[in-house]
């Protein structure tokens, strides 16, 4: 149990120390993020991939109100915990070329956010989950609004009010469940055991679903996302797209499905339709984007739409696919945003039509970019393939038409992504890109790590699938049992 406490408190301590580290904040935060990665790997190696909850911590916190610091790791948590601890050092490394003003605050906030995310991904107490949920939001708001680009204040206010609106209704839902719970605590297992009638479940479903849907984001709750991604500093975009949107997906799997299965079942068709509309809609908009960063932002909505569809299909394949794709999407999208950041740092633009022919000047960038891109469009042999394949299979088992439409993402994605690659990297070199210098130093390191992960997970995804399999199976059994018992 000490390991899990340590895992949460390393970034927290790191945040405090970094905040006072002044100019050396970059190094200090790297040390702490690598340390927590090491610990996360240690935990993963000692993790037994069955359905049980391991490394459990349960300490009284506000015991009078039934609130406990209760956290633990099962297969589903393990995956997102790994993702978080893997991406944070990469994100910090990716910032090495930048000299953000006030680095102590910048890196301190990243680590603080990491602590919040880890709480979200391991919490087994609904109140603790909520605290982590907000504790991850505040730092990202400040990162985006302080170091972001044009119009950042207005855009981030929208983002903030949007997400907090969702989470306040979730809080209301949590309070309701707490009051329903005869033991008067926020224990996840007590919430699982509640028997609510289908009307209650419907209300709770919406209270939670809106919060998660805004975070992911699922159509039509996505309107904050493209602007926020575009205006945020690159590291902010990476945090948002790589890790933060997984909070929404994780929330659905961990809290929404098992607590209100009937509510989910009643509304699954709607959620499915929304997810699929999101896929098609975001893909179509991605086609018309002139700014590469916006294009990736919309493609992210499409990918998340598919993940959501896989989850609401409520079967093993869809759920497993969602798990793998969470990790893959996190790695790929961080890679894509990093490549765009490298391009932006050289030529000060991400407008697709102003670029061209970079591949000639920067062959290494061209190759790594291509690998990441292929991972994103789910070419077999890359990490994206296995996830999307399972997701589509899950959706197919739900309904052929849904799968047919959702399957369009793969085609659409390939088209707009490859077209973007073609226009940016290939073709004629223009006066802007002629002086383009290839990747070097920390850029190389980050891109190599990402490419290695993409290929490795693509070729040998088994340990990953094995990690989550038992937990996912148990979760679905639990849901199905509850559904049967209600009938």
């Amino acid at each position: 149990m000490e390991q899990l406490l340590l895992l949460i408190f390393i970034p927290l301590a790191g945040a405090l120390i970094t905040a006072f580290a002044g100019k050396s904040a970059k190094i200090v935060s790297t040390v702490f993020s690598v340390a927590s990665l090491g610990l996360a790997l240690f935990i993963a190696l000692n993790f037994i991939p069955d359905a049980s909850t391991q490394f459990e911590v349960n300490l009284p916190w506000i015991a009078d109100l039934g609130i406990h610091f209760h956290a633990g790791i099962d297969g589903i948590s393990m995956l997102v915990v790994l993702l978080t601890n893997l991406l944070i050092p990469i994100i910090i490394l990716s910032s090495y070329r930048h000299d953000y003003h006030n680095p102590a605050a910048f890196y301190g906030l990243i680590l603080f956010m990491q602590a919040g995310l880890l709480i979200v991904f391991t919490a087994m107490d609904a109140f603790l989950f909520y605290i982590g949920w907000e504790a991850a939001l505040i730092p990202i708001y400040f990162i985006c609004a302080f170091w972001g680009g044009k119009d950042r204040v207005r855009i981030n206010m929208k983002f903030f009010v949007y997400t907090i609106a969702g989470s306040l209704f979730m809080l209301m839902g949590i309070i309701y469940l707490y009051l329903q719970n005869p033991a008067h605590n926020f224990e996840i297992n007590a919430f699982y055991a509640l028997s609510l009638d289908s009307e209650q479940q419907g209300w709770i479903f919406w209270a939670f679903f809106i919060a998660f849907a805004i975070k992911m984001p699922v159509f039509p709750f996505h309107t904050w996302q493209p602007d926020t991604y575009t205006a945020a500093p690159t590291q902010g975009t990476m945090l948002l797209s790589g890790i933060m949107l997984k909070m929404g997906i994780y929330g659905v799997i961990r809290w929404l499905l098992p607590i209100v299965p009937t509510g989910v079942q009643d509304w699954a068709t709607l959620a499915m339709v929304l997810s699929i509309i999101g896929i098609v809609y975001a893909s179509l908009i991605a086609f018309t984007q002139k700014d590469a960063k916006r294009l990736v932002a919309y493609s992210s909505i499409a990918h998340v739409g598919l993940i959501a569809a896989g989850i609401f299909a409520l079967n093993q394949q869809g759920m497993q696919g969602a798990m793998v794709q969470m990790l893959s999407h996190g790695i790929n999208v961080v890679g894509l945003f990093f490549v765009l950041d490298i391009i932006f740092s050289r030529v000060e633009t991400n407008k697709i039509e102003e670029l061209g022919g970079i591949a000639k000047a920067a062959p290494q960038l061209a190759i790594t970019f291509l690998i990441i891109l292929l991972g994103t469009v789910a070419l077999p042999g890359t990490n994206g393939f296995i996830g999307e394949f399972l997701l589509l299979m899950g959706v197919y088992n739900y309904g052929i038409w849904a799968a047919a439409i959702a399957g369009l993402t793969i085609i659409f994605g390939a088209v707009y992504m490859l077209r973007m690659y073609q226009n940016i990297m290939l073709g004629k070199t223009n006066e802007l890109t002629i002086t383009f210098t290839d990747i070097q130093g920390s850029e190389k390191l980050v891109l190599y790590i990402i490419c290695a992960l993409i290929i490795l997970l693509g070729v040998y995804p088994k340990p990953l699938l094995h990690l989550t399999e038992a937990s996912v199976q148990q979760l679905l059994e639990q849901v199905n049992q509850k559904l049967i018992s209600v009938k």
Partner: protein, 457 residues
């Protein structure tokens, strides 16, 4: 009893010290006096003594006395460099604040409605003078006159209510009133009902709940900032304690009767407070309107009277008091530097004074109700309380209002961190540093580990 005596004696000593122009000694004497009073407060804990049937120093009274005394203490620390610039007669300020505090102690510990009235008047009369203490300032005069007229008016309501209730029950004593209500639950005298409503109106005036709030923005804006701090924090807390003592105790058997008008008042208060605060361009006025909205959240505690309502109010009032003290302390500093209290004058504070800006940010987060600050725990307890009887729509309405609140509190954060300002660094006197540090510490401790205060009463 000792608490009131100590505070009153301190007030007199300060007055005489002022007479002999011992201006340097005023603050130390006051602080020693208040610390002694605080000591008596802690000493009387769990004593539950009844003094001459007029006052009862139960834990409820003592806890609120404690919050009021600590709040006043912090406000006194903010006087460094403040009065010297404004007035020669500093001793009067000190004395009047102390007298007001003595009145508040009565308001939080009365057992007899006569004491409620006496306490309220001691406090109010001191405040009328304090609001207008800048004799040559037009706004200050206006504030004082408005406050006096409105205050006198509301006292009228209160007295009328007390009279009717006396007429119905034959007693001023809270316990006897409650016994009357329980014993005659089928035949309560018809004049009792208007009495309750009139008292409710009178107290709503005092705590600035809508639609009886019209005096607050002007009075808060016109009064000297330090007095505004006092009025919007400590005075408000005492007002709520008085409100709660009456309604959650004596009038509790009639809950079904007065809860409907109360819910209406809560909704109007939340709506008006938040929506009007949204459109303010002036920081001080924004705080004034936001204080109206906080009155709305505090009244939540009366909608459902449970075992924990009193504690919830204590947590909320403490959270609100300390966050507001930070906000006003920074406001005073900014105003001394720039001469204005608009949002623009906060621009770029984060670059010049990062620690002051950080304190202000934490205060705003607490007022907005973001987790890990005291304000969140306060709001959470209020929501929990009302959800307990499934007033779902009321909670939903409050959540929508909280969202509006995020918007205007974040306007301050935006100005402080994300906007460029031209002014030079603020000079932060040491006492201000102490006040900011103490208030931030309390805000965070209550936010992260509220267990220490949750079972106090």
């Amino acid at each position: 009893m000792n608490i009131i005596i100590t505070i009153s004696i301190t007030a007199f000593i300060v007055l005489y010290a002022g007479l002999f122009k011992a201006n340097k000694a005023l603050l130390p004497i006051t602080i020693v006096g208040l610390l002694t009073a605080l000591g008596f407060t802690i000493g009387a804990w769990n004593g539950n003594a009844i003094h001459f049937g007029m006052m009862q120093t139960d834990n409820f009274a003592l806890a609120f006395s404690g919050v009021c005394i600590i709040g006043t203490l912090l406000i006194f620390l903010l006087t460094q460099n403040y009065f010297h610039a404004k007035s020669d007669n500093i001793a009067e300020y000190y004395t009047l604040i102390l007298f007001a505090l003595a009145g508040m102690i009565m308001m939080v510990s009365y057992k007899n409605m006569a004491m409620l009235f006496v306490g309220l008047e001691i406090m109010s009369v001191s405040l009328y003078i304090l609001a207008g203490i800048r004799k040559k300032d037009f706004a200050s005069n206006e504030a004082s006159l408005k406050y006096f007229l409105m205050g006198a008016f509301s006292t009228g309501f209160l007295l009328f209510g007390i009279t009717l209730i006396y007429g119905a029950t034959g007693s001023f004593d809270l316990d006897k009133i409650q016994t009357y209500l329980v014993d005659n639950s089928r035949a309560i005298s018809p004049i009792f009902y208007p009495g309750v409503i009139l008292m409710m109106i009178g107290l709503c005036f005092k705590v600035g709940a809508a639609p009886f709030h019209f005096w607050t923005p002007d009075v808060y804006e016109g009064s000297p900032s330090l007095i505004t701090t006092f009025m919007s924090t400590v005075v408000k807390t005492a007002g709520f304690a008085a409100f709660l003592r009456l309604f959650s105790d004596a009038f509790a058997p009639l809950h079904d009767f007065w809860v409907t008008p109360l819910i209406v008042i809560v909704c109007i208060t939340l709506f008006i407070g938040n929506v009007t605060a949204l459109f303010q361009k002036n920081f001080k006025r924004m705080l004034a309107y936001s204080s109206i909205s906080h009155a709305g959240y505090l009244l939540f505690s009366l909608v459902v009277i449970g075992a924990n309502s009193q504690n919830s109010v204590l947590v909320y009032a403490a959270a609100y008091t300390f966050a507001s003290i930070i906000a006003f302390a920074v406001l005073i500093l900014v105003k001394q530097k720039t001469g204005s209290d608009s949002f623009e004058s906060f621009n770029g504070l984060g670059k010049k004074n990062p620690l002051v800006a950080l304190s202000l940010t934490i205060a705003m987060l607490s007022l907005a109700g973001i987790p890990l600050t005291a304000g969140f725990i306060g709001k959470y307890l209020m929501f929990l309380n009302v959800m307990g009887e499934y007033h779902t729509f009321l909670v939903g309405f409050a959540i929508l209002n909280a969202l509006v609140g995020f918007y205007y509190y974040f306007k301050v954060i935006v100005a402080v961190w994300f906007k460029e300002g031209a002014e030079a660094e603020l000079a932060t006197p040491n006492q201000y540093k102490i006040v900011l540090a103490v208030s931030v510490a309390i805000t965070l401790i209550l936010g992260i580990y509220p267990t220490i205060i949750l079972n106090l009463i």
